[in-house]
Subunit: 197 residues, 2 copies
């Protein structure tokens, strides 16, 4: 899932990254994403602008890098499942793995989702990440069901729909301050494909 962080250097880098993100996140919530500049962030974190930019290529990544492992979580979950289920069940369970991974600190996630929702640039970048995950997820979904002749439109559509559900459900959940049960929300969302109406 994550690359082996066996080097001293890697550990240090990872820790610094986390600290910079923590400081920056407070600023974003306080002032608003667009109003904060890299100069502000680097000053607040006590490093130079150059250094800050070296840890995060873009301002969006300062917030969204926490979602990077989600693609891997989903593909791994798809592989680990019993293959004798239908596509929708497998996708639903894979998404449940994803939300379980994300819900470490409930309050933290709610805040991040709120910040994302009210910042178009963050929404856009998040959707971009999602689009990067899609081909691999489609491949894993198909590997066990049908066969090997390129991604089928059916599978692509199902994966795209499932990923849409992920954000819709997370948005709904964040709107309730993390009160609602994510499993039930997933079920309610997937009902869109089984209810006749």
């Amino acid at each position: 899932m994550s690359a082996a962080p066996v080097g001293t250097r890697e550990i240090s880098r990872h820790a610094v990254r986390a600290e910079l993100a923590r400081v920056a996140f407070n600023r974003f919530c306080l002032t608003g994403f667009d109003q904060v500049t890299f100069a502000d962030l680097s000053e607040a974190a006590g490093v130079s602008r150059s250094t800050f930019l070296r840890y995060f290529g873009t301002k969006e990544d300062v917030v969204l890098f926490v979602f990077d492992p989600v693609g891997g979580v989903i593909t791994d979950a798809l592989d680990a499942e019993r293959a004798n289920q239908d596509d929708w069940s497998r996708l639903r369970n894979a998404l449940e793995s994803a939300v379980r991974f994300l819900v470490g600190d409930v309050q933290q996630l709610v805040t991040i989702l709120g910040l994302i929702e009210q910042t178009p640039a963050l929404c856009a970048r998040l959707r971009e990440k999602q689009a990067e995950w899609r081909p691999e997820i489609v491949a894993r979904l198909q590997r066990t069901t049908s066969s090997t002749d390129g991604p089928s439109v059916i599978a692509t559509v199902r994966v795209a729909a499932a990923l849409e559900i992920l954000w819709i459900v997370l948005g709904q959940w964040a709107a309730s301050d993390g009160q609602e049960d994510l499993g039930e929300l997933l079920d309610a969302a997937f009902a869109a494909f089984s209810t006749p109406a």
Copy 2:
């Protein structure tokens, strides 16, 4: 659908905009979207950088403004339909209206889609537009079916899925140089929700 262009000023502005976009589009296809600057575009079009920027707020809009009416087309189509159909049929037909609107010049659309596909910034911005359309589409879909207590998760998921289908189908169609039949492609995509597997 489109605002009344009754002023001579509006007509002029619209025409200039189209011409600027035409010139710019050639540059993008020739050199690549990211490699072309506003300075290049304005020089090629024979206007100042300031003027060019006044016609298009962002570089992405130079390419994507042609998609602006699509949201309206979809909502209008949804309204115009007989309401005694199921959600999927209504969405499928609305999407067919959208693609009929887009397929004016086949070669033009194929080229644009190719440019978008290989330019992450354009993909991102297009998805942003799509997200703007969604709430209104959800409202129109629900107005006739169920009732009035806020957007249901079911409807939201279905609309999101349908919009995903739009781009998946257009991508597929562009990959075949506009040979495949868009109606059949839509049917094949929507089959993802009716096929049991």
